[in-house]
Amino acid sequence: MTDEVLGKLREAVLNMDEEGAEQTARELVGAGLDPVEGIKSMASAMTEMGEKFERGEAYVPELLLASDALKRAMPVLEAEINKRNVQREKLGTVVVGTVKGDVHEVGKDIVAMMLGVAGFDVIDLGADVSTSDFIAAAQSHEADVIAMSSLMSTTMAGQREVIAFLNELGLRDRYKVLVGGGPVKQAWADEIGADGYAQDAIEAVKSAKKLLAKN
């Protein structure tokens, strides 16, 4: 019974079936099965989607749709976890966004997705995010990592500004700062004092884990 339901939940995520995922999550809870196992099963489905994406066999919209299926089932499982008072291990919370003046979202979306797949709690602030919004979100969500994307050479300065604000506000030590995006390179990350740099979404996950020593 357990394997069957967990397999069904996994399939619902892989098939991007929101209703099926929610329904199966209810079935799992109704059968008295462990909700944490349900979350692990969905996470493994998302990992598979991520691997397919890396091989060019799945695309961003499919990852987003699979993620929507996961998100639809999640409240059902989380409610049960809370009821049972079980602690679930979290990798950390990442506030992610594209910096001020930059409306490009594709790369950032992929990073947000892959971080979520890996098990981070992701707060996606979208594009054209002001410095103060990055910091306010990091504070309100008690984030561990601030991840900033920039696709344009002209907007990279926004990444430096966030770090400067963190320094001046005395908040720099509270957060790890991860930067990336088309024109962003390791030399720039070093220059502005970022903690990590990622060339792509896969690297972003590795870097975030390394920064929080989760490897």
Binding site: E54, G56, V60
Partner: protein, 471 residues
Amino acid sequence: MKGRFLDYWARAETGPIVPEKDFDLKRYWPRINALARKHKVEHDPRHIVPTDDEQLDNVWKAACELVLDVGFLCVDTGRVIMFTADEIDEMIDHVHRMIRLGIGEEERTYTHKGFEDYDNQRNPHLVAGRVLGQISPEIYSSVVMSYLKEPSIDATHFQGIISKINGMLTTPGSPWEMLAELHRVALVRDACRRAGKPGYSDGGTVPVKLQAQMAADNPQWGTPSGDCRGAYMSPSMKTNYDWMCRALHMYQYGGHTWGAGTAYLGGTSGGPATSAINLCAELIGSALLYENSVLGTWALDAVYFSNSSKQSLFASWWGGAAFMKHVPYCCLIGAPIQMTYKLGREYFLEHAAGAVGCTPLGFGVCGGAGAQSAGTDVSSGMGCRMSAEVGRAVGQARLTRKEANEIVLRITDEYQPHIDDRTAHTIGLTYQQAHDVETSRPNPEFLATYNRVKTELKEEFGLPMKVTEAV
């Protein structure tokens, strides 16, 4: 002749309301996949250069249906701008069939070229330079001059970023961004005059905010009316009021705009086949919404920012060729618009592959910028020289699309491995390592690399390249 764009823009206030996420995932994504299946548009990695006209018609039909069924989301209003089939037909009837870029002695005229249309204008009819990424202030003029000294380049997008001015970073929307644009335009115009090309067309679109671009609009000391600025689609199938304002501003000024069909392979537009459909649909959208003077094909790999990989060339060329087969448009620039490698052998091979594929398709060619447009000081007029020379050789040899495809497959085999392992952007030289900064001329080593690639193209691929001791 321009006409309907104001009425089309007004639809951004009246079209159906669709939240952006629903537009992406529930409206656009299922429809583009269904259309690819319906019209049997598939990715054939052995046919990067399109040779199958029936399949090109299928891409065109799918793209038209995508425009009609999905429309273009205006992200400022959250409404979709919809079109009818009659409006697409009308666009085909009235689209720019001829365009003039530049002014005075530097004015160049471009008209539509068909497939293997070698006796109509030069081959290729437009050679466009691009300076991209950050350029250090102390070499900016030298880089610009390296393009201006190339007689084969017709127009250039001097789009290098001046990252600091007056000791300040050029933050978007700040006075420093405006100052940087004033400085950039002044540098470019000065270099054009010094090169004896005062009316040369610049298409550089650097400022994030339109106000900075507008500050330099002055026919006496700033942007001349023969210049071109960007007004293009946002991915996928989206527009916004900023792009409309940019187009309107250039038109009232008497200038031009360039647009692009884009696609993010692996990203929002899916695989190479759906990306080709998306790119063609965005070209149709650009012709309807912005009525651009020049269009480009800009498919990119979403995971590794490459515009010259086998997959992105497939999407760019199939989408672009489907558009040009059905629309008598004056000037479409084919991919790659930017190279993935830094300056060196593979960088020249990327240009060569582009020119071999684009010329039989009747596209203009583009070149100069390397390192994914992301590196500092990685642009050179020499890349564009390679595009022009290879394009001329293709025209002289009168390559069929089939022959061109065979050559492109072999050239791309040479440089694709470091795109696949995502290290291409680290391989090669910077401008300072490849040029004499004072004279802008390529140094002997870089010139030797250039000539070796030409020899390779002649001996390995039979292209009638003229290998000389060029300056």
